[in-house]
Symmetry: D2
Subunit: 347 residues, 4 copies
Amino acid sequence: MLRAAVVGGTGYGAVELIRLIDKHPHLQLNTVISHSQSGTEIEEIYPHLTNLIHITMDEWNIQKLAKIIDVVFFATPPGVSQKLVPECRQHGLQCIDLSGDFRLINPETYETWYAYSAAPQEYLNEATYGLTEIYGDDIKNSKLISNPGCYPTATLLALIPAVKQGWVKMDSIIIDGKSGVSGAGRKVSLATHFSEVNENLKAYKLGAHQHIPEIEQYLQQESKEPNTQVTFSTHLIPMTRGLMCSIYFDLTEKKTTEELINFYTEVYSNHPFIRIRPEGIFPATKEVSGSNYCDIGIHSDPRTGKVTIISVIDNLVKGASGQAIQNLNLMNGWDVRTGLLEIPIYP
Amino acid sequence: MLRAAVVGGTGYGAVELIRLIDKHPHLQLNTVISHSQSGTEIEEIYPHLTNLIHITMDEWNIQKLAKIIDVVFFATPPGVSQKLVPECRQHGLQCIDLSGDFRLINPETYETWYAYSAAPQEYLNEATYGLTEIYGDDIKNSKLISNPGCYPTATLLALIPAVKQGWVKMDSIIIDGKSGVSGAGRKVSLATHFSEVNENLKAYKLGAHQHIPEIEQYLQQESKEPNTQVTFSTHLIPMTRGLMCSIYFDLTEKKTTEELINFYTEVYSNHPFIRIRPEGIFPATKEVSGSNYCDIGIHSDPRTGKVTIISVIDNLVKGASGQAIQNLNLMNGWDVRTGLLEIPIYP
Amino acid sequence: MLRAAVVGGTGYGAVELIRLIDKHPHLQLNTVISHSQSGTEIEEIYPHLTNLIHITMDEWNIQKLAKIIDVVFFATPPGVSQKLVPECRQHGLQCIDLSGDFRLINPETYETWYAYSAAPQEYLNEATYGLTEIYGDDIKNSKLISNPGCYPTATLLALIPAVKQGWVKMDSIIIDGKSGVSGAGRKVSLATHFSEVNENLKAYKLGAHQHIPEIEQYLQQESKEPNTQVTFSTHLIPMTRGLMCSIYFDLTEKKTTEELINFYTEVYSNHPFIRIRPEGIFPATKEVSGSNYCDIGIHSDPRTGKVTIISVIDNLVKGASGQAIQNLNLMNGWDVRTGLLEIPIYP
Amino acid sequence: MLRAAVVGGTGYGAVELIRLIDKHPHLQLNTVISHSQSGTEIEEIYPHLTNLIHITMDEWNIQKLAKIIDVVFFATPPGVSQKLVPECRQHGLQCIDLSGDFRLINPETYETWYAYSAAPQEYLNEATYGLTEIYGDDIKNSKLISNPGCYPTATLLALIPAVKQGWVKMDSIIIDGKSGVSGAGRKVSLATHFSEVNENLKAYKLGAHQHIPEIEQYLQQESKEPNTQVTFSTHLIPMTRGLMCSIYFDLTEKKTTEELINFYTEVYSNHPFIRIRPEGIFPATKEVSGSNYCDIGIHSDPRTGKVTIISVIDNLVKGASGQAIQNLNLMNGWDVRTGLLEIPIYP
């Protein structure tokens, strides 16, 4: 049994971690850290936890934590985990960071897109990018995981198999991202006000989203084309959970829908959380709601020669807390499905 | 390990049963019966089950079922289970009926409100009303459970403790029911068309809902006032899951909010799925979403002397499939929480 | 042509006033006052006004206003209009206040429920309660209108005809209020965060809503029963616009549904914005969306002897800005329908 | 005053036409044709029309219509108007067809994509494509308008100005379409069931939508590149009204965002219903809700050299009934804004 702490206790990432840790047979939630709500019972903030989680939120104190905790999850805003992870690693704690602080290898890129100072280079080097299905071998040997962003997860799982084969014209990639509102967190703002979002559809951060360099970094790495740049736009969907990336690209050689589906099915055959839909069927976000699945539909248009891939996840599970648990499973030699094998909630 | 069949395989009640059976350590889903979709893989109808449930739906055949099944769940429209339950009982199968066919003791009342012929008297007599927290002792010894309706579950759990004490003026009860759309099932109709329901709020079936006689039957039984009649109205809320009853009544003797909360907390102290909110706090449906909890808030108005109780459930879990599992746990001597102890999905 | 100013320019009440003033043949929008956004073009805050309303928001300045304005609408938080209305009245401007500052005759009641100091008694005395269909004769002769709250509008229009006849047992009234989120205004808060409200249903302010004394004041006045007290609860519905009151009461003498519907139809026969539904039909909020209608359905239960009335409005139109325009029409001798005769938006 | 008939009386297109005709100073709604509901009062089907529209729906009868009607609007399923328009034209009636029956010049293309026989060639030749801002001169002289589809309206208004300049690489165009559910009409189906659509996001008809040949036909015509083919996918958004096209293409020559915005602003300077957003601002569907506006935001990415255009409309207004009225205004020499100059409903 590993003893876990969650840092960033009042956000949606944290509260989803709490739900998943509670289900996990080898994890015990021990501590929830919240700077703003230290001293408060978590069930006062989240009444759905009444009678289920009896924890008073605490301030960060590494001396205290190091004695009672084995693994720390960071569900914190940018700029926070980069300060706390070094302390944890020095005490030998396993760390999984759900923020963007350790995702970009190049500190300058981080500083450009996040407008914060970057994490210390030593820890950037140590961190392993936790895209489980792709980098599983590295994750098994890591103690510090940089958990991927929600859009990069849906995008990279959909693109990397074809990219590695050299089938994708790397300057043709367009990613039309669509996310439910929980992706914006629990912080109040006009942008997440119900009356502004409901019965509305809004594009935001065109060409300016901090997930762009993250996507490009791994596409460059897998394609060996260092100048790979994607066109990426994001849209706010009037729903709470769920994320879809509609991805368009040109093929370098002709591939039918059937060939692509067969190839993806084969590539992911040992990965229980990736489900490839049959020809002519495309996944909907509700089909993965509350679960760690990434469902993918593929269409190679015989008319235009372009490929469209539809990739859906629950942004709070496979796009954040679920993938964190999945990574922890690998890090500790447990079955990758431990605590995560659950049927999505439908409807 | 009990082997389970679900009848009515394409509806929301059935698909939620499938989710919950899959989580249950002592249950194995063996058969899904669907008259309209016999021969179809269930994952073709419900892609969220892809790779998770491999079952081809089947026609009803008691000879075949009796050999491979121990318990049958009926998630069927009115008039169906009353024909199939007798066959099951003759073969010794445990039965849990989620429809209204066995809820009304008086066949004429059933025929008036449901406009179908009633079930055979012998089986009406045998059936136990599965309101778990109230009738647990009877449920333990039953093989045929009539699972309560969603509105009666939320209403009776909120009212019966006070009614049994004689604190409720029985001619003063008003129940303002509010339900998400999944309560209307998966059948297509203009009433559940997205463009008609979304950004809309509609009252329906005023004084005419088939849950009225069910509520009155048990209030009469517990109050010993045979003429108890409630005012009950229902409203369609633009959300998928969740049900709230806002219940109003006059007290027969003065009770403060604090006294009522203390009393309810005591009554339900050994019932893990009932959570009483502290004074001034009222539950929201999202706080029980995806879970078997019934959360209750109580307000005794010092100005008007009237009591308001807010009772919320997930209509598909505690209001249907979850309570069915809870009852099965009692019937088989398992811990009442088996397979159900899960944190609600939030947000 | 009257020249109008709107005070409180960035809220939803103001922006709806701007929409309605723009349609009105005898009104010209001249000035928008916003303390927080003074100096900003309104179309920067509300891009839907692009190319349509070219107004730079301004600070309050009565000297300047008095020269260029004939009528001032206040769509301001509590405590604001009580300070500005006296200045306007001293300069002879017509005033319509959409806030609660002039609704409660008794200053102490205001101070208890609003937690602000009350408006000067002289102006409380001058103000006319703008429930158009009921107090039209007074409104015609007034220069200072206190526009009703959204819940009181839906409630009082539904109750007053029966109350005036003495048909309502005045200690039996229960009002189950249900409102879309725009009723809470545009201010950001966790309570209006999309992820908290969507797919959720929440009761709030039980027995504590500031509309309670407003409803009671006019029910007392019309019934001549000074101790009239109502049970009033409010629920937040996951939709933007629309408000429903489900109202329950005991009759003092037997009346059938048909009798009540005929009576209400007669009472409101010269009032184009009140529409009484036929027996067995109940209105939905979408049926009045974007319009000034108040639609009412009535059910007298032959079993229980209780009456249920369902009353729906668009909270931002008949519940606020539309009724304000309707009152202005009366004040200036125009047809009450001027600028308001429009088909609701459906779906 | 022209006398109007609406054919297809129970659908959303028709009911929106009724709303807009009612506002129009030169139009009088005389007849509503509905095959399925002939003999029924329209307010029985649509209670929001209570007291406002007193029309009994009728069967189609050209002899009767020709005597009392000047203009006929068809809001009918595919295959219907092609049979009725010839009769109308023979009697000299003005016709505006909101269906797809007259949109595709090539009958074989129609038959391939719609799976119906095409309209008679004579009438295909007579029909004018009613994309008002682009083909206004032709519309002025036409008596038979083929009103554009919702996706083509948003797409073509966004693309044609750049296409005509030769700035668009015609084989690079990707259109990611997103629509509210009202676009699917009022017919009941599982695809529009609230519980299936709400809190869900679904891609549909990838590369198979009947609006593809319509878009390509006009892009080919304007670009003079006969082989122009677009990649077009559509997504169902959990909202009722509103449509967005996110359009991506490569430039043939470098253009900055500023240059493009200035050019579009100039092109559309005399077209009041097209509003170009300033740099860095993108329109949301709610900003045009209930109105005839098409709002456009443009981004030319300096990193990738690709252009993204966000184009939003209310699918039922500019995407259908509003544009129909706009066309009728031109056909009759009225100001193009007649009956349409209204502020969008917000929020």
